[in-house]
Structures are given as C-alpha cells and as structure tokens.
Symmetry: C2
Subunit: 168 residues, 2 copies
C-alpha cells in the first residue's frame, strides 16, 4: 500500500536521497517511504529521478504504485545483471514454456497411444492432446526477431542460453 509519509515529518526516501525538502503532494512520497531507502536509490541509479517523475505524472494516480514497483523490480534486476537485467528472465521463461509445451505434446502423444491400445476406437477418457496449443505466449519475443542474428553472433553468448534446459 502507498505510504503516507508525505504527511509525516520524515522526508520520503526520494527527497532524502536528493537532499531536498519533501513538500505535501511530493510525487515520490507515497511510493518511496523513508524506511526503504534502497528502493529509490536503485530506481534512481537505473532510470534517473527525472524520468521516474515524468513517468508517474503521465499515468493515472491509481496506477502509480504498480508502476513504481515494476520499476523497482527492473532496477534491481539490472543492478544484479547489468548486461541482461530482467530481460534475461524473459529469455529463460520463454525457453521453459517451449520446453514444457514440447514435453506436454510428447506426453499427450504417448497417452493417445496407450488409450488406443486400451480402448481401441474410444479416446473419450483421454485429455485433449495439445490442449495447450493456441495459447502460446504472444508477448514480444525476446530477443526480437529483428536482432536475433546480432544477438546470437555475440561472442559472449547468452548466460541463460542453457539454463534450466538440460534435458531437451
């Protein structure tokens, strides 16, 4: 829940960090309470206070808490992994979804085989094979197709390329 620090005597974490007076109506105060100084420090280091302030002013007040929390999540991920940030997580998850769908497809093929052997001509007791198809995640693919080539040609490779993908 948004903090009410703007109405208390303590300046919010943002104003304390920026060494300025925390006035009533401070755009940061509800989302950067003084007891969480690292949250603002991270967001400031990655996005900059000015960019965050602009972004908050461009969205509805009821959306600001979620926006700050997602920015804080992104900032922390970028500080932990300066090269990939939270985009590394998207890459791992996309591979995991593809692997699971492949595994489910194979398992469904097996079950069709067993069902046909057990009840020839009757598949009524079988889960719909491929029932997960058509629900493939449609968010922008990472890496985007437009820079797949440059991405894969990097000598560094992607640190997540093989993560969680040992049995495929």
């Amino acid at each position: 829940m948004a903090s009410s620090s703007s109405f208390s005597n303590s300046p919010c974490a943002a104003c304390k960090f920026l060494r300025r007076k925390c006035l009533p109506g401070c755009i940061f105060a509800p989302y950067f309470p003084p007891e969480e100084p690292q949250k603002f420090a991270n967001v400031h280091k990655i996005f900059g206070a000015s960019n965050v302030s602009k972004l908050l002013n461009e969205i509805q007040p009821h959306q600001r808490e979620d926006a700050v929390n997602s920015l804080a999540y992104e900032a922390e991920a970028r500080l932990k992994d300066p090269v990939y940030g939270c985009v590394g997580a998207i890459s791992v998850l996309q591979r995991q979804v593809l692997r699971l769908q492949k595994e489910l497809d194979a398992t469904n093929a097996d079950i069709m085989k067993y069902a046909t052997n057990t009840f020839p001509g009757n598949n009524s007791g079988v889960r719909a094979a491929g029932s997960s198809f058509g629900q493939i995640y449609e968010y922008d693919q990472y890496p985007p197709p437009s820079w797949n080539n440059s991405f894969s040609s990097s000598s560094a490779g992607h640190p997540y390329d093989t993560a969680g993908d040992n049995n495929t």
Copy 2:
C-alpha cells in the same frame, strides 16, 4: 553485429539525437547506428543517455551489444506499457509455466494409469512422471513476495492477471 558508424562520416544515432559531434571511440556509436534513430530515442527516454553511458562503461566491451539490446527491449516495453513495462511479460510467463507444469503433471498421472492398465507391474515404456519438476524457474519471482500484498490490493488490478490463463 555492432555497427562501424563511428568510423563513417555520419554521426551515430545517439550523437545525432544529443546534437553533439560523434568522435572516434564514441561509446554509443557501435550500438546505435544512424539508421536506427528510434532505438536510441527510446533508451534515452526511459533510462537517460548518461545512465546508459555509465552502464556501458562498467561492463566488458564484448557484453555491450547485448546490454544495449536488452535496454532497448526494456525501453520499448515500458513505452508500450508505462505501468508494467517488460515486467508484465515476466508475470504472464510465470503463470504460463505454472499452468503448463500443472497440465503436464495431470497428463503424466493419466499416462501412469494407462501404462499400469496396459502392462501391470511394468512402467518401463512410460515417460518419467513429473520429469519437469526440480527445474522450476528460479529467477526472482514477480511480484516479489515482499510486495505481493500491496500489488494485489491495488484497485487497478494487473492487466495480465487473466491473460492466456483461460482454462485453469
């Protein structure tokens, strides 16, 4: 692949945007070619040129291309969705992984049943039930447990809460 625009006559997209001379050794030039002006504009709007420059200087040269591309991906996602940015994608993918694992678990339970009926006392032809377990995605959960409560209490709700999750 990184552009060689720093050695051409055209200033890179960053220097053109910032209206400064693109000198040899420009930190941006290899990754922001003049023919992709929007890439720098997006990254500049979300992260700021100074923060990007600092980040690039803190990592190894061979990592910079991937870093720029992941920053560009994050920036584009934040411009499309100012509240959740690419963190929304992480949330959708995490739900999709959980749904697929649940479906695979149920399908594996079915196949065990059929295998037992077909070959009593012999499961050798059956895929290992739950073979995907133990590989659950271990990246930081989104939303982090520490702000689950505030996140779910938001009146706005999460735009991805039900996306791709219609059959669970």
